[in-house]
């Protein structure tokens, strides 16, 4: 059964690249290196590569599942687990996406409060950004993907880090492979959260023209994400001593303090403001995916669900008060994300395999 969208709503396969890449590359990368560095120290960059490889495997699994069923996860759930259990699983995903959007929004607002405007009220910025999200999501899937493509401009920020090269201490990296495999793998687990985002493929699959051809673009997206994270982590290790890093919350933004241009002195202002290019695409995609799931499950209009979900996110964001809350929230979500990627997707993959085997014998 093919359940593809009308041609005028679909996007070309190559647009899977900005889509997956911007879904992965959220502003949680700013503090991604704190915890893994406690575990793997200056060998964290090896964990970054390992984690990237794991995600390539996951993307491979996702495409096997989707290509065989030729529909999105919402329908696959119903097909595999029946109406009620499948609906329950869909509901979990909806909640997950909403929580993800809330976390990203809160993380961004926190950065703004710390680095730019200390007196800014959370709800004020949240409402402005959610209005923006409403305008984008109401434009439909193609507009969201356009924003993802546009947000690739952020790589200029990553490139700006090259200006810090004068302060590198290459001794910080040696001795290589100083940590046990176990420590490296523990670090991989901690690193998984910034990579999370490939699950969006489950929901956008029907919106891609000739989706089978899009797999290489998804892999490319993950590859670019891995390389970017590698740069981020390597530069952190090269610039800071281990002890300094453990006292930083946003080493990435601190790094921008090293960047000097002839007439811009404190580049971290640009760096902090530009985090919006990392956040907006993810929030839009999350809200879009969750409202679409509701649309399919309950046959309601997406346009009616959208404001309700935005209000829910708004309430959630306003409720998360300070740094401790955010950290607890992020830990919770990174746990969910980790198990979703490394336990649930393989599980669905296995179920799919078993169904195919069973179907063949019958």
């Amino acid at each position: 059964m093919k359940a593809m969208e009308q041609a005028r709503f679909t996007v070309s396969p190559y647009l899977v690249f900005p889509l997956v890449h911007s879904m992965q590359f959220g502003s949680e990368y700013l503090n991604m290196s704190i915890k893994p560095i406690q575990l793997a120290g200056h060998d964290t960059w090896i964990s970054v590569i390992l984690c990237g490889l794991c995600f390539h495997v996951v993307i491979w699994m996702v495409y096997r599942i989707l290509n065989r069923n030729e529909t999105d996860l919402i329908q696959i759930h119903r097909r595999f687990f029946g109406k009620w259990a499948g609906g329950g699983l869909n509901f979990i995903f909806i909640v997950y996406f909403l929580l993800h959007a809330s976390l990203l929004l809160r993380l961004f607002i926190e950065i703004v409060q710390v680095w730019l405007f200390p007196d800014l009220a959370t709800w004020l910025l949240a409402s402005v950004l959610l209005l923006l999200v409403y305008y984008i999501v109401a434009g439909g899937f193609r507009v969201i993907v356009g924003i993802c493509l546009f947000s690739l401009l952020r790589h200029l920020l990553i490139a700006a880090m090259l200006f810090t090269a004068g302060y590198f201490h290459f001794n910080n990296l040696s001795p290589v492979m100083d940590h046990s495999l176990n420590e490296l793998l523990m670090a991989v687990k901690e690193l998984a959260f910034p990579y999370v985002g490939v699950e969006i493929l489950f929901f956008v699959y029907t919106f891609i023209k000739t989706p089978e051809k899009s797999e290489k673009w998804a892999h490319l997206a993950n590859f670019v994400t891995t390389v970017s994270y590698l740069i981020v982590v390597l530069f952190s290790l090269l610039l800071f001593k281990f002890e300094q890093l453990s006292t930083q919350i946003w080493p990435q933004l601190t790094k921008y303090k090293f960047v000097r241009f002839p007439f811009i002195d404190r580049f971290e202002f640009v760096g902090a403001s530009a985090q919006i290019f990392f956040v907006i695409p993810i929030i839009c995609l999350c809200i879009w995916a969750s409202s679409r799931a509701v649309k399919i499950m309950f046959a309601v209009k997406q346009r009616t669900v959208l404001p309700i979900f935005l209000i829910l996110v708004f309430v959630a964001v306003s409720l998360i008060a300070g740094r401790n809350h955010i950290e607890a929230f992020q830990d919770l979500l990174s746990q969910i994300g980790f198990y979703m990627i490394f336990a649930y997707i393989p599980f669905v993959f296995l179920v799919d395999m078993v169904r195919v085997k069973a179907g063949r014998t019958v």
């Binding site: 730019l116 405007f117 305008y135 434009g139 002839p262 811009i264 002195d265 202002f269 640009v270 919006i276």
Partner: protein, 483 residues
């Protein structure tokens, strides 16, 4: 006047309608026309001439002897009336006849072709469209002497009944765009359409946007180029502008002159124009953001210059910018509404005297004056008038958001504008093509206008039925050394 046909009497309530009985021996001949619309010479020489020579001329003989191409025999009053209103002369035998001949005697009074004034060109042809539709069609057809160039004529407006001509090349222009365009013109519900710019707003995809979605040009060479690259060109009687669509955002920042200059020069001018648009939109908002929130962000080398220039200014940067931007807008508006010579004076008085005085009175800083004047200048480099108005207005949301949120506000506003642009379409074609959806094959004629050897394909987003312009191999045949 008692004996003219009854229906003619109603028309003769307007005093410019002339109708009378031509004296003959047999049955009476009635002649009627609007003297405000016709050319008296045609009437006297070609109609009254034969009649006065031989007053017993029969209807058919008279019809045959009139040496005018556009004549016909009409049978119902509606046709006759329409023809009369278009400058025809009606001739009728008897009071209640079943036939009436109408002869074209329309006066072709109007401006003669002159040089383009808005889209000035140095090297291009010095011809611009005029108000007469036939003359304009002539200007286009002269440049595309191709049998497949089709002109479809429609009529818009209940009262204005303006003639609208849609030009396209059959077998080249995409049918879907063409049908959309014709359908939209046919669906226009409005009584008085006096200029094509009104029609333009009615046929655009989205009327709630400040971005123009079709281009109006006064240059026939540009219009001919557009038609031959697969776009649809719309002309209207009484408008010295040809509108063409579909277009994308990039089209508004190129002048046709780029195509007449060597490609390297043309491309550099194009890049300058595009970056000046960015400067025009972002310069004064960035000034506000920096002066209000990110003062520390400016390097020590640069900071003293800015600070010392506004040390005596009592206003916050936002008010300062707003005042100056409004002054510039005022000057521009005043200059546009006044005759050219006074306009120039206003420009000099406003620009130099007001500017200097404002700085000396410490109402504004030198630095900002330079920024605002430069960005006003930069906004005028946009060749399409509607777009340059858009660019000027686009600055204001950025100014407000810079005041509210500094650099972050500018970024938020950028994303919002971007989302808005992503939602726009022109005749159903995405507005941001070829950037989104990205078309690598169309990248050749965007920021850079490359050598003509790269122009072997028509731009794919026009979905032309004949995508190949020239054979690529013939175009790029290279000679070996010393060959």
């Amino acid at each position: 006047m008692t004996s003219v046909p009854r229906k003619w009497k109603e028309l003769s309530e307007s005093s410019d309608f002339v109708c009378y009985e031509h004296p003959t021996n047999n049955e009476p001949i009635f002649i009627g026309y609007f003297h405000s619309l016709i050319e008296p010479k045609v009437l006297h020489d070609h109609i009254l001439g034969p009649l006065s020579n031989d007053s017993n001329l029969s209807f058919d003989d008279l019809y045959r002897s009139i040496p005018v191409g556009e004549k016909e025999i009409a049978f119902d009053w509606d046709t006759i009336q329409n023809k009369l209103l278009r400058g025809y002369v009606a001739i009728q035998y008897g009071l209640q006849p079943d036939q009436c001949m109408v002869v074209n005697a329309v006066a072709s009074k109007g401006r003669s072709i002159s040089a383009p004034e808005i889209e000035f060109t140095v090297e291009g042809p010095k011809e611009a469209f005029v108000e007469s539709l036939d003359m304009n069609l002539n200007l286009i057809r002269k440049r595309v002497p191709f049998p497949e160039l089709r002109v479809k004529e429609l009529e818009v407006g209940e009262l204005s009944k303006a003639r609208v001509a849609v030009c396209y090349i059959k077998g080249l222009t995409n049918e879907q765009y063409l049908n959309t365009c014709i359908q939209r013109i046919a669906d226009v519900q409005f009584d008085q359409i006096t200029n094509i710019t009104i029609l333009q707003q009615m046929i655009e995809d989205n009327s709630n946007t400040i971005f123009p979605l079709t281009i109006g040009t006064e240059r026939p060479d540009y219009a001919a180029w557009a038609v031959s690259s697969g776009q649809i060109c719309v002309l209207m009687d009484g408008s010295p502008i040809a509108v063409f669509a579909p277009v994308n955002l990039g089209y508004f920042f190129i002048t046709f002159e780029d195509y007449y200059l060597p490609w390297i020069v043309g491309s550099i001018l194009r890049i300058i124009r595009m970056s000046s648009v960015l400067f025009s939109v972002f310069a004064s908002p960035l000034y506000i953001a920096v002066m209000t929130y990110h003062g520390q962000g400016i390097s020590n080398v640069f900071l003293p210059t800015i600070v010392s220039s506004r040390i005596n200014v009592p206003f916050p940067p936002f008010v300062e910018v707003l005042i100056l931007e409004l002054v510039i807008e005022l000057l521009r508006e005043a200059g546009a509404r006044l005759p050219t010579k006074i306009g120039q004076t206003i420009g000099i008085v406003g620009g130099i005297v007001l500017g200097t005085a404002a700085v000396e009175a410490a109402l504004t800083s030198n630095f900002l004056l330079i920024i605002v004047a430069l960005s006003a200048l930069a906004s005028f480099t946009t060749p399409i008038f509607r777009m340059s108005a858009t660019i000027r207005l686009l600055r204001f949301p950025f100014i407000f958001s810079a005041q509210l949120g500094g650099l972050l506000g500018i970024f938020i506003c950028t994303i919002a504008i971007c989302a808005h642009l992503l939602r726009l379409t022109s005749l159903g074609m995405p507005y941001l093509v070829p950037y989104y959806p990205f078309r690598a094959s169309d990248a050749y004629d965007t920021v850079i206008r490359p050598s003509y050897s790269k122009f072997h394909h028509r731009l794919s987003y026009f979905r032309s039925q004949r995508p190949v312009r020239v054979d690529k191999k013939q175009l790029n045949r290279k000679k070996d050394i010393d060959e």
